[in-house]
């Protein structure tokens, strides 16, 4: 029992903050309903829409294999690259590689590449805004995203970038969606 309580508390903590943020960003904090309505024009509510799909394994084709190897090589080269520009150029080139048609996992690999590229770009001054422009369309709330760790990682990265650019609504929305993806993944792991 003594071990269960701290564990339960640790599990519940992100979700308690999730609820807290929902309350804060949907105007629940405002005591004056008129003031809350006025705030709506200035403070955008976070978009927490999330649609996910199970990631199906694609058919092992030579093209899909070549694509996966290209991405893996790009990451290795990026690890060895000296300087932000060189690393960003390698990741950008890998992201621009044509995606095989019948390869569902390609989206996951692209999300990983984009998240890493975004993190690299954000290391430069003013780079966070450009990184948000790169990642936000890929993770748009209207899109159906793969239920995968890469999606959660990319959403967390987008949240960090949004914090860096001062877009609190995007930050909270991204973190909330990331937590929901991770919650779904944990439920699948438990089953």
């Amino acid at each position: 029992m003594t071990r269960v309580v701290p564990r339960l508390r640790a599990i519940m903590k992100p979700f308690v903050r999730f609820v807290t943020c929902t309350v804060l960003f949907t105007g629940g904090l405002g005591c004056d309903p008129d003031a809350a309505a006025d705030d709506g024009s200035e403070r955008e509510a976070p978009d927490t829409r999330l649609q996910t799909r199970m990631l199906a394994a694609g058919a092992p084709t030579p093209v899909a294999l070549a694509y996966a190897r290209t991405v893996a090589r790009a990451h290795r080269e990026a690890d060895r690259a000296v300087g932000l520009e060189a690393r960003a150029a390698i990741l950008r080139a890998a992201l621009a590689e044509p995606v095989p048609g019948d390869m569902p996992e390609a989206e996951v690999l692209r999300l990983e590449l984009a998240a890493r590229l975004g993190e690299t770009m954000a290391e430069r001054p003013e780079g966070a805004a450009a990184a948000v422009e790169l990642l936000a369309p890929m993770l748009h709330p209207a899109r159906v995203l793969p239920r995968d760790r890469a999606t959660a990682r990319a959403l967390v990265t987008l949240g960090d970038l949004a914090v860096a650019t001062g877009d609190d609504a995007l930050a909270v929305g991204s973190y909330m969606r990331a937590i929901r993806v991770m919650s779904s993944l944990r439920q699948e792991l438990v089953r």
Partner: protein, 175 residues
Amino acid sequence: MTELSPLLRTGTLGELSAAERERIAAELRALGEDGFIDGEVDEGAVVEVAALIGSVHGPAIDPPLSEIEQRRAWRRVATRVPAPPASMRGGGSPPRVGLAAVGFAAAVMLALIPTLRERGHDRPGDAAGRAAATSLGADARRALEALPGESDGARAQALADAYAARLHGAQERPQ
């Protein structure tokens, strides 16, 4: 410049014809003036007002009003002007000082607008929201680290290896 009436030209009623006197008296009655007594114009009041209007339009009053007459004229005009609202009473400041004060206040407001805007954005709710976002981000990152799985190069390499194994297995099976 509009043609001035004989009254304004001369500042006296002496040169007015009976018709002009009657017209002026009718106008004054229509305005509710109390300077009429039995069809006669309160010559003193008319002359004072005429002198003031004349001073605006330019013709000299002959003979000019004495200091006491000018004070009377201004006091009479002052009694006919509605009192300004309390918020507009400036305590007798000269007009230039008042204008300067208004200009200074406007300049101060213009200078303060960016500061006020910044303060407006930095409300307690915003600060709380930002703190909540930062805290939520820390939790999300911790949860991501605790989530099993690979990322970046390791993930791509694992996928490539799995593809290769399945591809080679598929190729080997028919043989």
